[in-house]
């Protein structure tokens, strides 16, 4: 059984311009010990997707669908129940660590309290555990540094502290929403390395959310590419990087500036702008930015699914795939 199984997930926001569907029928699962990357531009709905699962949607948002965590539906849980799951079984890390840390409390206080509350450890044990976690995320002199306040840490160190806090309760699932986007490349590289070590050392499942395919190349098992609230392609890392099916995935790959190749004069970009959910084209949602668009794209593209879990939503046939007869909308409607 999958650790997390999401079916027919829809997220809708009530805005002055009308209802906006940020996530339009998502199905995916995360297995134990697996790292899943969800990739897409801003407006793809990737953050809203996990916010909905975690019950953290903004006030004007509403979600439907199922999100079974160890067989229990997170979407049907009461806030109190969900809180326990969030603290103990699923941890979440956000893009800006400063907003999630209390600037008035020392790291020691913040971490020890979490451990005492969720695991019921006595204070000194909780503290020792916190130090151990800081050591696990490679913070030098954890005994000393745990006494400091968030502002005394650099950006990269703060993100490490966030990860350490996430790991405190030894969660089964870690969700990281753009954990290194706001950081320097050098620090990004360090965080990437840290995550890759954690993957090997623990049995924890990880969901990584990012707009940069390059950032997850090394550290994910499977990748879901999202566009305008829908899956456009999904598959294993090798599938996505070496055999991309969807023009959008290819565009994302080509737009990464590379140092390991001879440079062209022009960088490859995906033309146009990230999707505006209020002004989507009919048919294929990516059609107005797609360099390979043809006439048939004005109709709703089929969803190709293969036996080994590859998915592509495009008029072009996917090798070894069959058209899924009832697409997710059916699942989302119930």
């Amino acid at each position: 059984m999958a650790l997390l199984e999401v079916t027919g997930l829809q997220v809708e926001f009530d805005t002055p311009e009308g209802a906006v569907k940020a996530v339009n029928g998502m199905n995916f699962e995360v297995n134990e010990g697996e790292t899943l990357a969800i990739v897409g531009e801003s407006g793809a709905g990737k953050s809203q997707l996990v916010m909905a699962i975690m019950g953290l949607l903004a006030e004007n948002g509403s979600a439907s669908g199922k999100a079974l965590f160890r067989g229990k539906d997170l979407m049907k849980m009461k806030p109190k129940e969900l809180n326990t799951v969030r603290g103990r079984h699923i941890a979440m890390i956000f893009q800006d660590p400063m907003t999630s840390l209390n600037p008035f409390l020392s790291i020691e206080k913040q971490m020890t309290e979490v451990a005492m509350h969720h695991q019921g450890l006595p204070r000194d044990e909780a503290r020792a555990h916190a130090v151990e976690m800081l050591r696990a995320v490679r913070i030098p002199d954890p005994e000393e540094r745990i006494l400091q306040y968030p502002h005394e840490y650099s950006g990269g160190m703060r993100q490490r502290v966030m990860i350490a806090m996430g790991l405190l309760c030894e969660p089964e699932l870690l969700i990281a929403d753009e954990p290194s986007t706001a950081l320097d490349v050098t620090i990004q590289a360090q965080i990437t390395e840290l995550v890759s070590e954690l993957r090997q050392e623990t049995r924890m499942a990880i969901i990584l959310i990012t707009h940069d395919l390059a950032a997850v190349a090394e550290i994910s098992d499977r990748i879901i590419v999202m566009y305008a609230g829908e899956v456009v392609e999904a598959g294993s890392v090798d599938d996505i990087f070496y055999r991309p099916q969807h023009p959008y995935t290819r565009g994302l790959l080509a737009s990464v500036p590379r140092l390991d190749r001879v440079s062209d004069d022009e960088l490859q970009a995906i033309p146009g702008n990230p999707p505006n959910l209020l002004e989507l084209p009919s048919g294929c949602r990516f059609r107005d930015r797609c360099v390979e668009a043809i006439e048939q794209c004005s109709e709703k593209p089929p969803l190709w699914v293969s036996a080994d879990g590859r998915v592509s939503r495009c008029v072009m046939e996917m090798e070894g795939g069959a058209i899924e007869p009832a697409s997710e909308e059916a699942g989302g409607a119930e």
């Binding site: 926001f13 903004a58 006030e59 146009g272 107005d288």
Partner: protein, 310 residues
């Protein structure tokens, strides 16, 4: 005048697929104000309050004209009569036979006027003072804010009594007294906002474009702090009305035959046991007004500062 800027199109091809849209008509923008207005309209409490306040304003302006009584007319046949349609005194009369309804409405004129004018005074002084202090910072800021502190330290009541003693009791003095104290809060709030706005990237960008200080304050600082100011204004109006009521209650407010809600409540409170209606009606009007302004203020705060924009 020749501007010296080349106006020729530098002729770069646009790679946008919607090239046809080039010839299309201008799209209308939707400003943050319009957004906030729409959010406010969705707030039922604020909309109902706004409606009631509009009604209230109409009533206090036109009501006294339509009623058969004058505010200072004494109906000797009906002194201290309870509300009744028969006598034509729907809200009853007071001990000297004056119609409570017309007095309440006329008192409303004064109360609302005091609220509006005093707030307006504090708005104009406070915003310009605070924006200047916050924007220029340094010594200017320090001196200006110390002045505010000094005025703040003066006991308000002492200040009012002093004014009354020197100039005699006059309605204008109430405006002056309340306005003189209220702008201090406004100046502080505006200064704080300006300090944080001054460091925003768009102000730096304007500076980098060569925009002069005055234009930066006018175009970039003030429009961005208006939201906070507007919320504060709607919360200040009821506060000012209350202060005026308090002054009137102490006998320092408006003078007979003029009246205000505060003065009426004061009168009514003295006859509370024998003729409670003289207290109930003005108090009701006062309370409704205070509630409405608070709801409108809350609604505006929510509308202007949405926690999540999607």
């Amino acid at each position: 005048m020749n501007s010296g800027v080349e106006l020729k199109d530098q002729g770069l091809e646009i790679k946008d697929p919607f090239a046809a849209a080039l010839a299309a008509e201008d799209i209308r923008g939707r400003s943050l104000w319009v957004d906030a207005w729409h959010r406010l309209l969705k707030n039922r409490a604020a909309v109902v309050s706004g409606f009631i306040m509009a009604l209230m304003v109409m009533m206090v302006i036109f009501g006294p004209m339509l009623l058969p009584w004058e505010g200072d007319f004494t109906d000797w046949d009906n002194t201290s009569t309870p509300p009744s349609a028969q006598t034509g005194h729907w809200f009853g009369t007071d001990a000297v036979g004056r119609d409570i309804m017309v007095r309440t409405l006329e008192g409303g004129r004064i109360s609302l006027l005091v609220g509006l004018v005093a707030t307006l005074v504090s708005l104009v002084i406070g915003v310009s003072y605070g924006a200047v202090a916050g924007y220029y910072g340094g010594m200017t800021d320090r001196v200006m804010m110390r002045i505010v502190d000094i005025i703040y330290a003066l006991p308000f009541m002492f200040f009012v009594i002093l004014l009354m003693v020197v100039f005699g009791r006059h309605i204008v003095l109430i405006f002056v007294a309340i306005g003189a104290v209220n702008w201090l809060d406004m100046a502080r709030i505006v200064r704080g906002q300006t300090l944080s706005l001054k460091n925003t990237e768009f102000v730096e960008a304007a500076r980098a474009c060569g925009v002069d200080h005055q234009s930066i304050i006018r175009r970039h600082i003030i429009p961005n702090l208006l939201g906070v100011v507007m919320v504060y204004v709607t919360l200040t109006i009821p506060q000012v009305i209350l202060v005026e009521s308090f002054l009137s209650f102490l006998g320092l407010g408006v003078q007979e035959p003029m009246s205000s809600w505060g003065a009426l409540v004061n009168d009514g409170a003295q006859d509370m046991e024998s003729s409670p209606w003289t207290l109930i009606f003005p108090a009701m009007f006062l309370t409704i007004t205070l509630y409405c302004f608070n709801y409108i203020g809350d609604g505006m705060r929510d509308a202007l500062d949405p926690k999540d924009r999607t």
